[in-house]
Symmetry: D2
Subunit: 113 residues, 4 copies
């Protein structure tokens, strides 16, 4: 069957999550550099088509806990951020989030309307 507009909207939303994760995974990060990375991720992904809003909340305590004292930084991965993205496609708004769920950063489709 031909895809519907709501399916197109969630397809676009998925693209944003995959992009965000795999563009920035591996970035050197510390509690001090985390806010600048969050701001850059938000404005970078908001450039993509149909993307209305990206919110990245860095988990600075989790970042701090992951850092070995003699290393001083760690690498950005899904456990260090909570993310919400809103996409608008032909009047349809779709929202999804990424957050830790049993040790795994789960991307979850929340709402389509």
């Amino acid at each position: 069957m031909e895809p519907t507009d709501t399916q197109e909207a969630t397809f676009e939303l998925g693209i944003k999550f995959g992009s965000l994760y795999h563009q920035f995974a591996g970035t050197p990060i510390s509690p001090e550099s985390a806010p600048a990375l969050a701001a850059a991720i938000e404005s970078a992904i908001e450039n993509q088509p149909h993307c209305r809003e990206v919110t990245v909340e860095m988990q600075r305590d989790a970042i701090r806990d992951a850092i070995e004292p003699d290393v001083g930084y760690t690498e950005f991965t899904g456990e260090f951020a909570e993310v919400e993205i809103v996409v608008e496609y032909d009047g349809i708004e779709a929202t999804a989030s990424m957050a830790m769920d049993e040790g795994y950063p789960r991307m979850e489709l929340l709402e389509v309307e």
Copy 2:
């Protein structure tokens, strides 16, 4: 509204495309190294949840044309591959492709059933 299974399927499919593109964009590539990169991309993305099949066809002529003789390689980007991905989610199969469309690598949702 709660997301439907077909919306979940296309959300998952979008994640795969965003992941593929932003994980591998920037990889040094030549006509000789392109087949190994295609094989690695396919088997890497097929690891992701609900992903049934990934097909990457490198455009070796386009890669060759983009290479400056005194540099000898270029960087992987959307213009150098045609991609098809099939996702299966709760019995629903969704297919999308990426190919060049007026100079831009367009990700297109093809079919949901």
Copy 3:
């Protein structure tokens, strides 16, 4: 032969350039989002061992020129930034830059002292 301290310093400096380029190549970018990306790159790479200072100057005119009007953004690559990095290793300071040279983003070792 055993590596010398100045060779160690330039090895460390090279790591920073390769990291910077291949972590962020492919990031969606526009003239508006470029400053946030520059700030994130600087503070991310400065986390790495022996890294004293990273300066990223986005070439906003080049970014603007590369954007198709109906697309609205492009992808970060070497032609859109001039970069200087200073590393300090056991009292030795090494500096290198990346800038466009005949259409190719050249990483150049400038000074070791």
Copy 4:
């Protein structure tokens, strides 16, 4: 001071390590897909200037141990590969490796001659 040829060689070698790590960190990986990724990494980085040989040995046991049964894959990072790279610059050969050292993937300059 002007950089010497041996400093240029180790600078180039560092670039290859940083590129390799930050291009491929985050790639979905399983024991089954690891060999294809190793082959792609080797041929991709060997495209870079002055790069003579790249050897990537995936640590399949470490990959297997890191995988949660209900997830089925993990993400490529430094703990899952041992790497050796040889660069040749103006007749000078420089070799370095990456391997785990006290829980941290250490890039180490081995020899310059």
